[in-house]
Symmetry: D3
Subunit: 331 residues, 6 copies
């Protein structure tokens, strides 16, 4: 059983490339990095459950039903309060970038939840639990809560997976405020999703190399060593336009880096692409794939997550292998 | 020019009688009692403007555009913050009642606005300004703000219109908490939308009569006298089911009560029905209708507001007169 | 083969009981009394074709495809010009009546068509052709055209069916202008859809009876005799509200009147209800039903046409008989 | 844990009261009596799981996701084949009845499944399992399969619930063919949903009483005694029109009958109404309600299932109690 | 009059690039290679009719109405049974390929139809009849039926058109099973849609050439000669991604090959692209186009069929010529 | 305050790349070059109002509401008649071009309006008024009306902006008929949107240069001088396909030309692209931008107008600057 801890949000999307003032209806789904990673894993055949707090009303019922439809169990979550965080998505086109509008979520059921509301004993049912850097950033309260849950999980012997997901807007005092928090979290983590830029900017690592791959090879093994992290994974993304991008995945393990080949992305829905990659990495971990196959699988999973509707990955293993096969044929 | 002061909210409705967990899209509109009353008046040909604070992002732009589409001016509103209050509507059917789910709105742009942000001089452009009891209830902050704006408007010679709209859930300490606040507001009001039940429960008036119309005749002229209110208006509603109801309107003026005939309502969209009636009352006031014609017009306006899509009334004078005519023919 | 002659119009409907200013999309279909009557007959298994002129562009192609989907042949129509008449429908609810908004159609392909454009020889393929009073009213041009086609059809031995469909708005000078035109058409007609009110108001017949059924029994056999009409049919409708009405059908043949029993209508889509009845009458004629069965069938066909989406009847014989059966069970 | 055994079908509904030839899109959901009963129970807070066979392709994945969204576990089902049974729904209006069109489902994954494909040991996890008479009727194969599963479940000590659901079209040789099959099933059943008409027609019981309630009181206790059934439940339905009906529920236990009061139904979606009642009965059983409260709860659950979208009940205990409360207020 | 013989299927498409488990509604249309080829021809102005068997229920009525809307006559088809074959389409995006899910169709009205149910005399009304290789593959029954109809048509002097459309999944024993069947069909055919790969794999022709165009030039004239086929046509497709492809058309006539120029395809809807090409080829045949103009027209028709919604081509001659003109301008 | 004078039209669009015969609903919006230019300006923060005549019915109310939603005031327009011009849009895909179908609009409220119906005194409230060449072309009546309004506006001291927008189909006698009309309008204009091709073809200017930029540099300063125009603006567009194009903007002022850099366009909605550019030019004029910044802003505004839904630009200044910034980053 794989868990994720974090917030579930309502995603409200203006359909058909409309801007919000043009929309008379909004597409609704329920999302969050934890939800997305678990959805990916659930579609790969793993048992998964979300640890969160949902409102005790129609909104909570709707979020719960949606998570279940993705194959994520919700019996381990708690229910109370009346507010769900939400965000509005206006998909861009051509040179017009997509915009995401957040509203205040400090009063959401999750953001006002307390450690002692959660049934920590239920953690024993899982072998791995995933966390996200956004939970560290939303408020001092969620930061403390997240670190506490991670510590409890570590104590109970779960593998700790952590996606840095640094969001500049959420850290009022920037990297200086974030560094000690991230360091504390990284010391708990067994698996970490991080890039060379994070290593430099958040963690203050230095390098004399100029090129991305060189910096990755120099910095990330040192990050792994410093914080005793077994596995680091990440992607290199190049953006040509809203819909045309390239993506390379990498794994850092035992001091060496393994890269996937480069994918040419046609982007249908950008959000959750990184979570698709993360779910592929965790699937490879659970099934003990060899590094080359592992990073190809994970990157293909990430690529497919850009081509399906919604934040949450919904591709099966068959889908991922079919993508790989298509690529092989095309070379 | 007619103003309303209050909050603008996003309404998110599960379409086609779905419950929220069943909905993959939500109908979006922008509403509020002030918006609804002004929409009604704008469709009757009056110049109107909303005095509120909207977020300075896509949500604010969407709300602004929607208000403008109803014929309500938005140049007098202010913009800032990032959060709009919102509510979710699941329309009922048959014995299943409609449900409205509110989330926390204490951090909305309106609910965190300050008196000195508003350009009070712009009040001089209006002859009448409408307030709603919900603004008195949402928080101590909005209560203070609303009373302050009402006082400033009174000072500048505007006619003050006030709809009691008592919402039990919003007054933690019930009628005891509400009474002094309502009394303060009623002393400012020139026109008031109130029922005999409000007079008894909120204001503590006593009556020995048992029947509704007797109580109205006994209590409301005394309310008018006590608080120096020129005009009181309200409705008597009987609910047979979600979709079948009856409605009678009444006006209290110069100590006497004028009733409309009884309408048999087929309800398409219940929310905003009372605001439709209020807009009819204010239209009659502005155009100096004789009481019988006035209350028939206002009640017809209220009835039609139950038969159109959305909270905000969109019927024209022609529509109201056509309803009246149909009724005359059918008698 | 059964023909109808007349205009095809685009129907643009605001969905979900919206008013036109609320609608961001409109439901589109193609209609006309001729289309509707033929659609009904086609669904009863008859071969049908529309004689009209459609624009020679996407609009014409769309109308043609729609008629074909109803089972109406379009090879006998002609194509040219660029304009299709259209109307906008806002469906009412409860006390709010439906409204139909027409725009100018004087320049439509049909309204500017010339007699010699039509291949009159193709009339020989049909045994019956249906006309509508609206074609007599739209303009002096269409009036002349319609009468000319009717005369040609009569000469070629076709049965002439005519639905009076008097539209007050279209006759600038009222009944005085209409009377000679209708009289000319009635002299050509073998079957006529007309009511006792038409007989009095358009044709100037007098009666001393007060009740509807008495007037029908007095006036319509005299109309039949005067104009040598073999069959007159019509309905008695009572309107309780937009959605609740009653309907009785009648046939006048050989001087005597046969009535159907009274139907309680729940109205989904009012337009084309009369055409559904007409198609039932013509089906009974073609299949030589005995009068009682005939008028029951025709009235049931009319009733069903109020319960299906769109102007054009789409019920099969099975559907009509199932309605009758349900009624039998319920008595 | 509560199980149901049976087929999952795709429901394809022509939206907005359209007939199938008018529809350019169809609403899709996944249903079946088992699914519906479990959905009701899941919304009342019970753990539930479906025992069925789903295709091993996108259709199976879609059905699985849908069941999960209703809170029904799918890990106990098996996957294989490529075909899902399906049916088409055209909702009626007024006098026009709804029509359901079935296509051949003999080749569906469920209908071709074999007893030994199912993991019968997993039955031990459940305390109750629900069956439906349709599974007995679809084919000789499913009949045999269903009886075999019921026998195995009985052996393992599960409570057997059985809904007769006699479908005349599916029994080629009528009651004579059905009687021995139903008798065999009833001997296995602990709880049975059956009416006095079933007792007479399928089982051949005789009564001299004429009125429904008398027949229920005479026949159903004898059915219970004959087949050693602890609990019999059913409803009395009177149909005024497609949308207006009345419903009374009853329980037969220990030889005596308890009736609910009569509900006036406004029907939004007829299908699954009986399953809503059944889920209420089973909830009352699990929570040991006293008979009067029990039958009122179950009947309210059935009533609400007529007012929500889709076959599967989605009302919570709160919803059921709110309906009851509304009724109490209205008396 | 041009006929096609074969199955009509319901196409159910998940809208907006959704996967099936994400879709709450499905787009519905009716298709089949015969339908598609006839739709193309009908839009080019030819009279067409489908020879098939459709269910005698709402599904059959819907398919019939849809075919008629495309301009295809349905009076020559027969009606009975209750099942229509269907398939589900999930459109791909970027690297994610489209997937088509078929369910069992062995029990469909067409697949269970008998030769003697069809009115073979009606064949005399047509000058050409089109067949498809899928009908040879679905089952032994449809294979026999299709060959029998082709033989009857040949006897009555119709031109036989045949599209190989080899589907590996449908031939359990592969090419060995297919070869004698295809050979029998090719001996009946006057016009054949086939590629050099089909010649090698199905028919066992050998060539020493390596490049596609060389193989076409070597093999297909020999195929034509061997089976006495007057005209062979086909396309060379290169696939860069789901949406970007190239297409070249070719005609083999009197021993020589004529190629179109190469089109760069932007694919909206891949299915039916080949049928669009086939309809263009048959139009060129009927209108006796010179080979160069012919193959350019046919290839343009094929290209356009990839850019319109649905399987069935809906482009007019004007549309095809406009594409050609645009291309000329762009060179 | 900025005005535009001209026609408002209803735009009816077949959704999802459908052709008109495939569409069962049409997306509805209200448009026109004046509307589009004002919408752009309103989104940049300017007060704007449309001077037109709208029908006095639901259509007029809908158009009015739509304009208001874009931030355009409608109080200066007049109301009467019953007909609104309209056009149908079928969006192309790949090689299939978009098609626009116009119907006769000679009887529209605007096209039959008279000069003396308009309140010319209201012109004094504006500093600038925009006209479009289409108004000069639709009919002799609108031509006369447009020139008369322009003359009146000039007399009252407004800046006259004029977009040539030559439409070949609307000038029966071609350039010869257009030249004197355009010359008359250009003599009134202060700002003109025109290209080198217009200068040659409509106005008969000669040049010996061959390349576009050379011709612009040669011809347009002479046009400016000849007609005393202060500012000329236009774009150079290269079309690779329906969705891929390039765009360069230019300004001609004081005899010299300033170009923007070249934009690579991904086109979502082509119509109104030029109006987006015009609104950017007028915004630069009102805010006195330096030429280089001005033309970059205006061209970016034009580019964005191709990437948003609908004819009318809805981008804010922030949106335009974000596009510019993205471009800067990408260089």
């Amino acid at each position: 059983m794989i868990y994720a801890f974090g917030e579930v949000m309502m995603r409200l999307e203006a359909p058909q490339y409309q801007k919000l003032p043009q929309a008379s209806s909004l597409l609704v789904s329920y999302s969050g990095t934890g939800v997305n990673v678990l959805s990916g894993l659930s579609h790969f055949g793993h048992e998964t459950a979300m640890i969160t707090k949902l409102p005790n009303n129609s909104l909570g019922a709707a979020a719960k039903s949606y998570l279940q439809s993705l194959g994520i169990q919700t019996g381990q979550s708690i229910y109370g309060g009346n507010t769900l965080g939400l965000y509005f998505l206006e998909r861009g086109f051509g040179g017009r970038t997509s915009t995401v509008t957040y509203t205040d979520r400090s009063q959401s059921s999750f953001c006002t939840s307390q450690l002692d509301e959660f049934d920590l004993d239920s953690l024993d049912a899982a072998s791995l639990i995933h966390f996200c850097g956004i939970s560290l950033a939303v408020s001092a309260h969620t930061r403390k809560l997240t670190l506490a849950v991670a510590r409890k999980a570590k104590e109970r012997g779960l593998t700790i997976s952590f996606d840095c997901n640094y969001r500049p807007k959420l850290w009022t005092n920037g990297y200086a405020e974030a560094q000690p928090v991230y360091e504390e979290m990284l010391r708990l983590a067994d698996i970490c999703f991080i890039t060379e830029a994070d290593a430099k900017l958040i963690l203050g690592f230095k390098t004399t190399y100029l090129h991305k791959k060189e910096q990755i090879g120099d910095l990330l093994p040192r990050v792994a060593q410093t914080f005793h992290i077994q596995l680091i994974a990440g992607t290199i993304r190049a953006v040509k336009s809203v819909s045309e991008q390239t993506l390379i995945g990498f794994l850092v393990k035992d001091g060496s880096v393994t890269y996937s080949h480069m994918h040419h992305l046609h982007v249908l829905d950008r959000i959750g692409g990184g979570d698709g990659f993360a779910s592929g990495v965790l699937h490879g971990l659970q099934t003990k794939m060899p590094p080359e196959e592992w990073i190809e699988f994970a990157t293909s999973a990430g690529v497919l997550a850009h081509t399906t509707v919604g934040d949450s990955p919904v591709s099966t293993i068959t889908d991922v292998l079919r993508l790989k096969q298509t690529l092989d044929l095309e070379r």
